[in-house]
């Protein structure tokens, strides 16, 4: 039963993630894309943590923690790149 609920929650998260990915692909401005990818990264952290509970392997939480770190750094780095190099900032 618990397994089933976890699978359902993971499926719901996957639907949300695919919608975020769609916004990242459509996004009129580059900031829309960065915002969507940031939110998608947070959902990925949750998804990885959930997978760890589904597979009964608590080591997955370490991956989730590192993914959270990398996600924040990626967002800030991409923003820095956009501001410094003026990469396609206009729609």
């Amino acid at each position: 039963m618990n397994h089933l609920v976890l699978v359902g929650a993971a499926a719901g998260l996957l639907v949300a993630m695919s919608l975020f990915l769609l916004r990242a692909l459509l996004g009129p401005t580059i900031y829309d894309r960065v915002l969507a990818m940031n939110a998608l990264g947070t959902k990925t952290v949750l998804f990885v943590a959930m997978l760890g509970f589904l597979a009964d392997r608590p080591e997955f939480l370490d991956i989730a923690l590192v993914y959270a770190l990398v996600n924040f750094l990626t967002t800030v780095a991409v923003l820095n790149l956009v501001q410094e190099a003026r990469l396609d900032a206009r729609p």
Binding site: A16, L19, F20, A49, P58, A68, L69, T75
Partner: protein, 115 residues
């Protein structure tokens, strides 16, 4: 089915619901600055609810501590990265969306409908 499992299921369902509202909101809002609202705010709430649900399942154990660590870290970084994105867009000179011009008055619209 224990009480802890029940609590965790309710929290999981709430977290998924919040994540889905964020995903729908980011498509329905008209421009970038309004899209920050669903994406940025619900981010923290969804992660807190889902990680808390998993921590309830794990009980009082090292995985629980790791989940708490992830939650606190996301609580710190998620709003600050959202703020950084908003500030970058503002500095770049992105114009916020405003209400489009009013539609013509009712009487002219009725005439158009009759035609």
């Amino acid at each position: 089915m224990t009480v802890a499992e029940l609590i965790s299921w309710v929290l999981l369902a709430l977290g998924c619901f919040v994540a889905l509202t964020a995903a729908v909101g980011i498509h329905r809002m008209p421009d970038f600055f309004s899209r920050i609202h669903p994406a940025g705010k619900t981010d923290t709430l969804a992660q807190m609810l889902i990680l808390l649900a998993l921590a309830v399942q794990a009980g009082f154990s090292p995985p629980s501590l790791k989940l708490l660590l992830i939650s606190v870290f996301l609580l710190l970084t998620s709003p600050s990265s959202t703020h950084a994105i908003a500030q970058a867009a503002h500095l770049e000179g992105l114009e916020p969306w405003t209400k489009p011009p009013q539609e013509p008055p009712a009487d002219t619209r009725e005439e158009a409908a009759q035609r």
